[in-house]
Symmetry: C2
DNA sequence: TCAGGGCTAGGCAGATTGTCCACTCTTTCA
DNA sequence: TGAAAGAGTGGACAATCTGCCTAGCCCTGA
């Protein structure tokens, strides 16, 4: 599940070589995003191409790492974790970022960790059941060895939930062969 | 695709009623996360339950909004958008947050927008092809009517990519009936 | 004690999948 | 200029899975 896989046995892909997305690729991704349960056959019908083509495209998109999976999208809110917060933190730099990140990763409520530029060193996204519960989670974070100071920002609302579709539709395209 | 759908015709679900996740539910989600392409039949084999049970569980999880979909996970990095940044911004409060969010949503590189507590009003996650390209995206954000000031933080690395699995495994469980 | 919900086990027809193949067209490159 | 490689098409195959249904069993709550 590397981010930038190279084709089996081939030389590594360079950044500029990954931007190649076909118009058909984009339509396929858009279609699957809209109706994820569609099978290959149904996709081929909707897109007006042969089934083998869709199959090949999907294989290639997966091989290139453009599509990393089809995992079920789980809503933390539906599980009772209705509070989302972003926590930035300063850490003891001596040992680098990783040991801290490893320990943060052991906290289930920590959904995501980034090392960042700026005054802080790490940014992580956490969820909690309530604001009081958020305190508990933050306490766990503060308890992590190497964490010096934290700063929490609560997400009150999410007017634009995570999405990639507009980006896919906007990617500079490779020329489609047919048409 | 609402976040908190209520069962057809029923009264709306309340927060405390959504926390009910079975051990079997958790195992099912974990299984599907690990191997999303599995069919219902294969899942039932792996979990050691009847096919109809898996089918019913999936239906219920989807109906409750726990599983919101099975969309393809697209990697912006693989599309050439290797730079991720978090942009906080202050906005003109008079007209509320929404108009600004709407305009931000029109920028494909804006993947996510939250209204937040603290000194800033909005936090959004953006991607760009390069640091120079990030400047272009930020310019677009600044150009949005109502945006007064922005502050950008670049994500250098992501030691813990977005994940929900540990949370699912950790959710306070309803007692499983069988076993 | 009854009703309802959930699980198991089985059956059925229809649809889909993975995997072949042969053929065509276009681009690339020696 | 000609050959090779890459991509798409259309078709075919067996194996499998899906959606849907039935019936019985068990447990819980009213």
């Amino acid at each position: 599940m590397d981010n930038l896989p190279s084709p089996e046995g081939g030389r590594p892909l360079f950044l500029y070589s990954m931007t190649t997305i076909d118009d058909l690729d984009a339509r396929l991704i858009a279609l699957l995003t809209a109706e994820p349960r569609l099978g290959v056959l149904e996709c081929s019908r909707r897109l007006g191409v042969a089934r083998g083509t869709v199959q090949a495209r999907l294989d290639r998109l997966a091989a290139r790492g453009v599509i990393t999976g089809f995992g079920p999208d789980v809503s933390p809110a539906a599980l009772g974790y209705g509070v989302t917060a972003f926590v930035t933190m300063e850490i003891r730099q001596v040992s680098g970022h990783d040991p801290v990140a490893d320990r943060l990763a052991r906290i289930p409520e920590v959904l995501e960790v980034h090392t960042i530029t700026g005054a802080s060193d790490l940014l992580c996204r956490v969820v909690a059941r309530t604001n009081a519960d958020l305190q508990r989670v933050i306490d766990q974070i503060v308890d992590v060895q190497g964490v010096l100071r934290t700063n929490s920002i609560i997400a009150l609302d999410t007017p634009v939930p995570y999405r990639v579709l507009p980006l896919v539709a906007d990617v500079p395209r490779r020329e489609s062969r047919s048409t």
